[in-house]
Amino acid sequence: MFRKRIPLLLTFIAGMLPILSFLFRGPALRDEDPTGNGILHVSDTFERWMVILAAAALLLGVVNVFQVNLRKISNRAQGWPYALVFLLALTITGFFGLWDAFSRASNTAWYAHAAYNWIVEAGFKPLQATMFSLLAFYVASAAFRAFRVRNVEAAILLAAALLIMLGVNPYVVRALPFLPDLTQWTLNIPNAAAQRGIIIGAALGAASMALRILIGIERSYLGLQKGE
């Protein structure tokens, strides 16, 4: 019973407090000292904890990455040397990063800072930039091969894509000066309307999921199966 009830109760309290603090935080209360109001004070404390928890979640992620990749290496699964390189890179970067962070407070060990910076500047940044740059080539190739007027929906999508690309092209705009306005209209009206629909739909989905968690219908985050 305690295994289920207490976590559910804690979830309910932790979920309700920010909602209550938001409801009772009228304009008159907004500028007041948060410690002067019980709900605000507890809610703020929870938010501080959440910042710490979010950082701790990173650690969980690192542990998980280690577990998965170590298993891959020990099983000699396909592509295991990449997993080894990955873990080595993670360990070395993490080591210098932590050393740099801990020594920076006392302004010592400049070499830790230099080593970490070198890893980031000479290794990580170029690699990330390269991965992203490759997209230009893939997008060009994929657009050429896959962007076909196969049906009405594809034709509308293609027309919109061409309108946006042509509307920002300096050469085309010089020849057709009305095009940027048409492009902007497409972005501001049909695009914004569709995006709003998506955003509102996603927000409603998130709100209903939050409500399910708050009232204890959704329990999978506790590791419980349906009906448990």
Binding site: F22, A140, N169, N188
Partner: protein, 301 residues
Amino acid sequence: MTALFQRLMNIDRRWLYLLVGLAAVIPILLPLNLPVNVAQSVQDLYDRVESLPAGSVVLASFDYGPSTGPENDPMADAFLRHCLARDLKVLCIALYPLGGVTEGAEELQRAVGPLDPANGVLESTAFPGKFYGRDFVYLGYKDGGQATMRQMGENVHAVFPREYYQAPVTDYELSNQVRGYGDVSFVMSFATGIIGEWWANLVNAQYGTPVAVGCTAVSAPKYFAYYKAGQMFALLPGLKGAAEYEYLVKQKYGQIAEATAADVYNAGKGWDVQSIVYTIITLFIVIGNVGFLLERRQRRS
């Protein structure tokens, strides 16, 4: 004719890669200085910065990493220079891990010149008379996303007790002065992914703080919904937005551009490249579709 299009449709993708590669490299080596057409969403940011009284504080958040640096770096650079040229004070933070690790401090140093606050080198070389701690300061990265934003609304000093170079935030005039969103004129987020949305639907909606976002081109369509709803008063969409903003700043503060390193103000160069690549992609899409339609007609007949 059909045969020609069919041959083009079956072209080896390596030729396409070569063409895109050349289109990317040549304009970098030989800048074309293509014209830019300033969009209203970009003009809104420029006008807001121009209209603020000297001494106003703006909060700049480096919410991106190296992968989107080519789009976000130039807009951050032009924005920082614009603010300092207008005698505004800039409080910088980062809510994206890689923004804190690589972009924030680096971009600030790129805009104002080399600094070493830990050893007392505080004066900007690009803006003589402007000092770290008084005119601009970098608080660094804090994890937690939305929780951090909410917490900053209550007490910035609790979230960032020390600035990036480890001095207590109360040691510097600017960081000591800013306690909450009420102390800044607006928030400018240079964002990758969803962080720009959080600024709008959390900080703007709950605290009423004006928010502007410089986002990647791929996220721009989504952000236009927030811009049109007034939850963002301005929007810099991708490299195009960066080039337009840079153009506006250069028009009025050209002397700043001359006083800086050659790698600064590169949105224009980037925009040259992107325009040419866009043209190539558009042409190939048109060729592909003409070939596809001809082939379909031939098959039907």
